[in-house]
């Protein structure tokens, strides 16, 4: 992804004052060197809040999750060691498997569709022409809606009686399902609403397209390449690292993005059809105060997620466009 960021310039950390062998140090040199050392120390100091914060708010809690997964803990009394008891309980619980299946369903359906949507609009709106700014803003706009407002808006849109979506569908003679009320369509509804928040991928792919030099296409045009060939052999390969990055990012995001819709719109129902992993974890830890169990589910879930990310990475690695980080 970052070829353009790494190939650039400078980075001095070489000493300003290099002392020729055998030379006696002058006072000026010493002062310069000391101020250089002070400066470097101060520079490191500026990193401190970020690094300490990351340690305290990300790394420490992450490690603590590992530990708590082996205990029984309610945040009031001290944790009790349970060994692998939590993991056993989780693996025999039917709800865990339902939530896992629902989360997989969401990931498998929503991620490719979101990526395709972002790519299609990025290709459509990459050229600078009249009105393109307005079109781009329109595509991005649903992405900035706060989660709670977004969930409420779609709860209204999907409402089988009042909702404008079913009015629209029946107006053009299409079947109007009960969406969130029906276990068959509830998950699909959550996927559909996620397809309107693709602004992040859209912006990233626009930038990726912008970085492809025009000369590549010009050369291809001279060689008689048609539009499809240009897309297949220039655009797609050069975008591949971005697409990979977005897939992995979407995969991890799907571990949190399903929470608010499931919590506010369906509460996991009907018949657990929208019980996604984050909601299950929330219920265990914050509704039933079984933080140990919640941690165990979390750990298993992330193990699976990590495996999936590695899988995606290696499958995509077959494209052969690996870049530095």
């Amino acid at each position: 992804m970052c070829a353009s960021f790494t190939s650039e310039f400078f980075l001095d950390n070489k000493p300003v004052v290099s002392l020729p062998h055998g030379n006696t140090r002058s006072a000026g040199h010493l002062i310069a060197q000391r101020s250089k050392t002070n400066f470097n120390l101060a520079i490191r100091g500026m990193l401190l809040p970020y690094l300490l914060g990351t340690l305290l708010l990300v790394i420490l809690p992450g490690l603590l999750t590992f530990a708590l997964a082996f205990t029984e803990y309610d945040a009031l009394s001290p944790p009790i060691w349970r060994g692998f008891g939590n993991f056993h309980d989780v693996l025999v619980s039917p709800l865990f498997w339902i939530a896992l299946r629902n989360s997989l369903y969401f990931a498998v359906l929503a991620i490719p569709l979101r990526l395709l949507g972002a790519l299609a609009f990025a290709l459509l709106l990459k050229q600078r022409r009249r009105g393109v700014g307005l079109y781009r803003a329109a595509i991005y706009l649903p992405t900035v809606i706060p989660d709670v407002a977004y969930a409420l808006i779609w709860l209204w849109i999907f409402n089988p009686l009042y909702g404008p979506l079913n009015m629209l569908l029946s107006a053009v003679g299409l079947p109007a399902p009960a969406w969130l009320v029906n276990p068959q369509t509830a998950k699909l509804a959550i996927v559909i609403m996620s397809l309107f928040q693709i602004g992040e991928g859209f912006v990233v792919l626009l930038a990726g397209l912008h970085d492809i030099p025009d000369e590549y296409y010009a050369a291809a045009a001279i060689d008689g390449g048609n539009r499809w060939q240009m897309f297949r052999f220039i655009t797609l390969p050069l975008l591949a690292p971005w697409l990979l990055l977005l897939t992995i990012r979407d995969l991890t995001l799907s571990a949190q993005n399903t929470f608010t819709p499931a919590y506010l719109m369906t509460d996991g129902g009907p018949y657990f059809s929208t019980l996604f992993m984050p909601l299950l974890i929330f219920d265990e830890a914050f509704e039933r105060f079984r933080i140990g169990m919640g941690s165990a589910i979390l750990l298993l879930f992330f193990l699976g997620l990590g495996l999936l990310v590695v899988l995606v990475y290696f499958v995509a690695g077959g494209w052969g466009y690996a870049d530095d980080y």
Binding site: C2, F5, E8, D12, N13, F39, N40, A42, I43, M46, L47, P49, Y50, L51, G53, T54, L57, L60, P61, T65, Y73, F121, L124, L125, G131, G133, A137, A138, L141, P142, V144, P146, D147, V148, A149, L152, I153, W154, L155, W156, N159, Y162, P164, A171, V203, L206, A207, L209, H210, D214, A221, M230, R249, Q256, F259, L264, I281, I291, S295, Y325
Partner: protein, 283 residues
């Protein structure tokens, strides 16, 4: 003949392109049209028989009622306090970290970028429980500091990376000459680096505002008493009071989304590749 020239010569293609763009834009604006229209509907009306773009009659008082039903004004003030603290803190810590990263040895830079990306890939779900345990221990539960805490680490490693990428483009000689004049680190940062990074500062400020204004999960998890609620949890309270009063819920949604939409529209130029968050060379 380049592609651009060829495309421009075909006006049929241009019309098709506009039609496709317009259709896409209309589709993505549909939720906005519907939420505004629904927020002006009279509460308690039976479902309309056909699709209703403009409600009959238009009821503006829905926007007043939501403030009477729940202390929405208080929640908005709480949200504004959180944002007013989180945005400046984030700007300082994220730009410090990005500035420092750009000055470090190359190998160290790479390691810090890798760390940032790993942290970025970690779903926040992983931290809900143990941050609760941590905040509980630090007595921060039910205070707004539990919501603001991430600002002290720059809110998101992504913001740190944005600043890092911007500051890397600043020629080192600029810093060096200031240093020779005896300027300290903070002076170089505030007098030279930050003014050059104005587009990045604005973009990170907007993104941070959106992040904290929209945050639902952390207030849900870490706040207990209603007087501390921020707007998103406050609106959820409204939903729990009457799940079927759609006009009022939609009016509350409009109140919640207006500031972020307005802010995005004002700053959108910064997000497109032509006006890239590029720092000084404006690439």
């Amino acid at each position: 003949m380049t592609i651009k020239a060829r495309r421009q010569s075909v006006s049929g293609g241009t019309i098709l392109h506009h039609a496709a763009s317009l259709a896409g834009a209309a589709l993505f604006l549909l939720p906005f049209v519907w939420v505004i229209s629904a927020s002006l509907r009279q509460p308690g009306l039976p479902p309309p028989r056909t699709i209703e773009w403009v409600p009959q009659p238009i009821v503006w008082t829905n926007y007043l009622h939501i403030f009477q039903l729940v202390p929405l004004g208080q929640y908005i003030v709480n949200s504004l306090i959180v944002v007013a603290l989180a945005v400046p803190i984030t700007l300082v810590t994220a730009s410090w970290a990005g500035f420092a990263m750009a000055q470090l040895h190359h190998s160290l830079q790479r390691r810090l970028v890798a760390l940032a990306i790993v942290v970025l890939m970690l779903p926040v779900t992983a931290l809900w429980l143990t941050r609760y345990v941590l905040f509980n221990y630090l007595l921060l539960i039910d205070t707004i500091w539990a919501l603001i805490a991430p600002a002290f680490m720059g809110s998101s490693p992504f913001f740190v990376l944005l600043f890092y990428w911007t500051f890397r483009r600043v020629p080192q000689e600029l810093y060096a000459s200031a240093r020779l004049d005896g300027a300290g680190v903070l002076r170089v940062w505030s007098a030279i680096a930050l003014p050059l990074a104005r587009p990045t500062v604005i973009a990170v400020a907007v993104l941070t505002f959106v992040l904290y204004w929209s945050d639902f999960i952390y207030p849900l998890l870490y706040l207990k008493s209603e007087r501390n609620y921020t707007l998103p949890v406050g609106v959820q309270l409204l939903q729990q009071m009457d799940r079927t009063n759609w006009p009022l819920l939609m009016a509350a949604s409009v109140v919640m989304l207006t500031p972020v939409v307005g802010m995005f529209l004002a700053a959108q130029r910064l997000f497109w590749p032509e006006g890239r968050l590029a720092g000084i060379d404006g690439r």
